[in-house]
Symmetry: C2
C-alpha cells in the first residue's frame, strides 16, 4: 500500500491533537438540560470539520424535537468499492463528582502521554480518529478515498440514542452501507490490538417511590409514616442476592453460554485478577457471581447496578426528614439472548410484587439496548484485525465488552450490516468517571489503523 | 390579674407579626455553610430586639469557634420571685425541596390565617412569643416584670446544639433558674391547649461506604466491582424488619413502657387514625410496629429512619456509574431509658457485622440527645396548664412529642431544673418540610399564655 496517508497522519499529529482539544473544551453533556447549547456547539464543530476535510452532503440533522442532532457527511464516489458507515458520538457523560478531577474536565490537559478530559476516549477522541483518517487519505489521494464512506456522529449516545435509533429505523437507505465501523470500545490491555465482538445490552430504569404526601419530620412521624428511601433499600436488597445473583424470576432464562472456543480464548488473554483488582478497581475484594471468571462475569453474565438514589436530604449535615418521595436509578446489563423488553416486563412485575407497604412505585424507563455478538470469521472483522496487527505489530485479540452500544444492534436489525468495533481505549481510561483520559499514542495508532483498514477494504 | 399586658399584646398584634416576618426573611439555615452570615444576622436581630424591649446584659455569645452564637439577655430585678429561663432557637432547617413551596420559604406569606415561611413555627415564631410577652409585661409594668427572666436563644438547634450544650455544662451559673420555658413543641390538635411532658432522644449517624477507588463504568465493571449504594441498601434492609422492628441486638433492652395512667390518657385524646393518615401523612397506609397505637409508636417507641443517600448520579437522566463512595444518613429516635451513647455503640457494632463484602463503612455521628419525661405534678407544669386553660378556655392536655429537644435533658442534668414545654404549633404545620407555617391566632394566644404564665408564677 502507499504510505502517503500514513506519512501525512504522522506529520500532522500535533495539529490533530490540538483540534481534538478544541472539541474537548465543549462541555457537551447530553443528559443535562443546561448544556443543550454546548451539545449543539459540538455538533456544529463536527459538521464544520467534515466540510473542511472534503466530505459531501454534510448536514446537522434534527430527528426528534427537543433531542440532540446527528451530524452526517459522506463521500460516495468510489464506484464498485464497499461503503463503510463510520459511527461515533460527540456527547459526553456528566463530569461529576467534580472535586475528584485532577485537572478540570473541560480543560484538556496532557500528563504522561495521556490527554485528560471528559469525552477524551468516550467518544470524542475515538470519533475524531475517523475524521483524521479520512482527511489523511483525502489529502494524499487527490481528493479521493479508496472506498465509500458515510459518517454519522450522534449526540445522544449517553442518554439512550433515541434520535439515531429512529433515523436508522425510518431512513435506512440514507445510511446504506456494507459494514459499520464503531470506535467506542477499548483494547484488552496496553499494546494489545483488540477487536470487540460482543456487547452487553441494557435496561436502565428509575424506581420512583412515594410514601407520604409531603416531607415529614422524622421525630413527629417516625413510627407511622412510610419511608420511600427505606422501601427502595428493601427492594434493592431483593433484586440481587449477596453473591450477585439476580432474583427476578425468569431473568436468566435466555442467557446463553459463550462457546467453548471463546471461553478458552478468554482464558489465554493476559489477565491477572489481582492486578486488575489493585490497579483498576481498588476495592478490598472483587464481587460477583461465584464460579465465573472476571471476564466471564463482566462480558457474558447479566448484572444489575444501582447508580444513584435521589431524594431526601443529601447535602452535608443532618436533616431529620422522612422524604415524601425518593427514587433509585437501577440498570441491568443483558447478554445474548436476553431481550430488553422482556426483561423490562419481568423487572416491573417483580418489583411491584415486593413493594413494601404504604409505598407506591412507578418505574421509568431510561434506555434499552439489545446485547450483541459479532462472528469473528466475518471478512470485515478479519480486515480490521489485519490493519491493527500491521500498526501494533502484534496479533489482534477478539474480546467482548461489558458495556452497551445500542446502535450496533440497530445497525444489524435495520441496515442488515455487521459492525467492526475497533477501539483504542485502555482499561484504565476512567470511562464515565473523574479523570477520563485517552492515551495519546493510541489516538495516533487509531488513525493509522483506520487508514490501513480502509486501504485493505478498498483494494 | 391586671389585664394591661394582655391588652397591650392585643393592641400590638399587627406590629408583632410584622417584626416576626422581618426575622423570617433571614435564611438562617444553620447546617449550610453558605448561610453562615445569615445565621449571624438572625442572632443580631434577636439581640437588638432584646435590648429594645428592655432586657439587660444582652450579649451575642460565641461558645465554639466556627459555631453559631447564643443570644443572651436577662432581667433579674424581681427579688424573691422565681427565675424562668426562656429557651428558643433562631436557626432553621434547610428549605429544600424548593420546588414544593407554594410561596418562597424566606418570603413570609399570609394565607388562611397562617404565616408560611421556613422557621415560622420552628422556632422563630414560637421563640418570638417569649420576647413579645416580656415586652407586653415590661411596657405595662413600669419597666418591671412580675418575675425574673433569662432568655437564651441558640443558633444550632437544627445541627445538634453543641454550643448551648457546652455553655450549659460549663457555665451553669450564668443560666441559673427555677425552671425553663421551652416553646418548640406543638399542640395536640387545633384549639387543644397542650403541654409536652416527654421527648424522644436522638442518635443521628451517617454511614459512609467505600467500594472501588474511583467511580467505575457499570458496563465495564458491573459483575466485578462492589457497589456502595447496593451495600447501603442491604445494610438498611437489615436495620429494621418489614414491620418496623429494629434489628440491632440489645436496642430495646432499656425501653420503658409508659405508665398505665399515661397510656389511658392518650387513649382519651381526640385522635382519629384514619383522619391523621389522610390529612397529615397522606400515604396509602400507616406503617410501624404492629400492636402499638400511632401515639404510642411516635411518642414512646424508638424508631429508625433513612433521611438521604448521597452518592452516585442523582440528577435527572441516566448515568451508568458504579460510584466509588456513597453514604446514608440514618437516625434513631430513642425513648426512656435508652442511652444515646450506648445505642451509638450497639449500632456501630451491628453495622460492622453486616457490611457486604468488598465494602468499607465508616460511621459518622451527627447528633445525640437524651430522651426525657417530665412529671405532670410539677408546680410549674400545673401553672402553665392553668395559663393555657385561661387563654383557650379548655382543659390543657398532657402529651409527648416524638421529636427531640436535646437541651431539655441538658437543663435537667446541668441546671437541675425542669422544663415546661408550652408549644403552640399545630400538627399540620409542616415542620422541617416545604410550606412550613404558623397559625397566626396561635402566635397571639401563645403570647397571652406566656403573659398569664409569668403572672401566675410571679404571684
Amino acid at each position: 500500500m502507499s504510505t502517503a496517508a500514513l506519512d501525512y497522519a504522522r506529520q500532522h499529529q500535533q495539529r490533530f491533537l490540538s483540534e481534538l482539544k478544541e472539541l474537548l473544551r465543549i462541555p457537551s453533556v447530553s443528559t443535562l438540560p443546561d448544556h443543550r447549547n454546548d451539545v449543539r456547539r459540538a455538533a456544529d464543530f463536527v459538521a464544520a470539520e467534515m466540510k473542511r476535510i472534503g466530505l459531501e452532503n454534510v448536514e446537522v440533522i434534527s430527528v426528534i424535537p427537543g433531542g440532540h442532532p446527528l451530524v452526517y457527511g459522506d463521500w460516495l464516489n468510489a464506484a464498485g468499492k464497499p461503503t463503510v458507515l463510520c459511527y461515533g458520538h460527540y456527547d459526553v457523560q456528566p463530569p461529576d463528582p467534580l472535586d475528584e478531577w485532577k485537572s478540570p474536565p473541560f480543560d484538556p490537559t496532557e500528563r504522561n502521554q495521556n490527554i485528560y478530559a471528559r469525552g477524551a476516549v468516550d467518544d470524542k477522541g475515538q470519533m475524531y480518529m475517523h475524521l483524521k483518517a479520512v482527511e489523511s487519505l483525502m489529502k494524499t489521494g487527490n481528493g479521493k478515498l479508496p472506498l465509500n464512506v458515510r459518517l454519522v456522529i450522534e449526540g445522544e449516545e449517553e442518554v439512550g440514542g433515541e434520535s439515531i435509533a429512529k433515523f436508522v429505523r425510518e431512513q435506512p437507505r440514507r445510511l446504506a452501507a456494507d459494514l459499520a465501523l464503531v470506535s467506542d470500545t477499548e483494547m484488552f490491555a496496553a499494546e494489545t490490538p483488540s477487536l470487540c465482538v460482543g456487547l452487553r445490552g441494557m435496561c436502565y430504569t428509575e424506581l420512583e417511590a412515594t410514601g407520604a404526601m409531603v416531607d415529614l419530620h422524622s421525630g413527629v412521624y417516625g413510627g407511622a409514616a412510610p419511608n420511600p428511601l427505606e422501601a427502595l433499600a428493601r427492594i434493592i436488597s431483593k433484586l440481587k442476592d449477596e453473591n450477585g445473583k439476580i432474583l427476578i424470576p425468569g431473568f436468566y432464562d435466555r442467557v446463553e453460554k459463550p462457546s467453548a472456543d471463546e471461553l478458552k480464548a478468554w482464558d489465554s488473554l493476559p489477565f491477572n485478577e489481582e492486578h486488575y483488582r489493585q490497579t483498576e478497581v481498588g476495592s478490598k475484594v472483587l464481587t460477583g457471581e461465584p464460579g465465573y471468571s472476571v471476564l466471564y462475569r463482566t462480558w457474558a453474565r447479566p448484572t444489575l447496578e444501582v447508580h444513584g438514589m435521589p431524594g431526601g436530604f443529601v447535602a452535608a449535615g443532618a436533616k431529620t426528614v422522612i422524604p415524601a418521595r425518593a427514587s433509585a436509578k437501577v440498570s441491568m446489563r443483558l447478554v445474548p439472548d436476553q431481550r430488553p423488553e422482556e426483561i423490562w416486563r419481568l423487572f416491573n412485575e417483580y418489583v411491584q410484587k415486593i413493594v413494601p407497604k404504604g409505598i407506591e412505585i412507578k418505574i421509568k424507563q431510561w434506555s434499552m439496548a439489545d446485547p450483541i455478538v459479532v462472528r469473528t470469521d466475518n471478512h470485515f472483522v478479519r480486515a480490521a484485525a489485519q490493519a491493527m496487527h500491521d500498526v501494533f505489530k502484534k496479533d489482534t485479540v477478539y474480546i467482548r465488552s461489558g458495556g452497551s452500544i445500542p446502535i450496533v444492534a440497530d445497525f444489524e436489525k435495520s441496515l442488515k450490516i455487521p459492525s467492526v468495533m475497533m477501539g483504542f481505549g485502555l482499561p484504565d481510561d476512567n470511562l464515565h468517571a473523574p479523570n477520563e483520559k485517552f492515551h495519546i499514542p493510541n489516538f495516533y495508532r487509531g488513525i493509522e489503523s483506520i487508514i490501513r483498514f480502509f486501504h485493505i477494504l478498498g483494494n
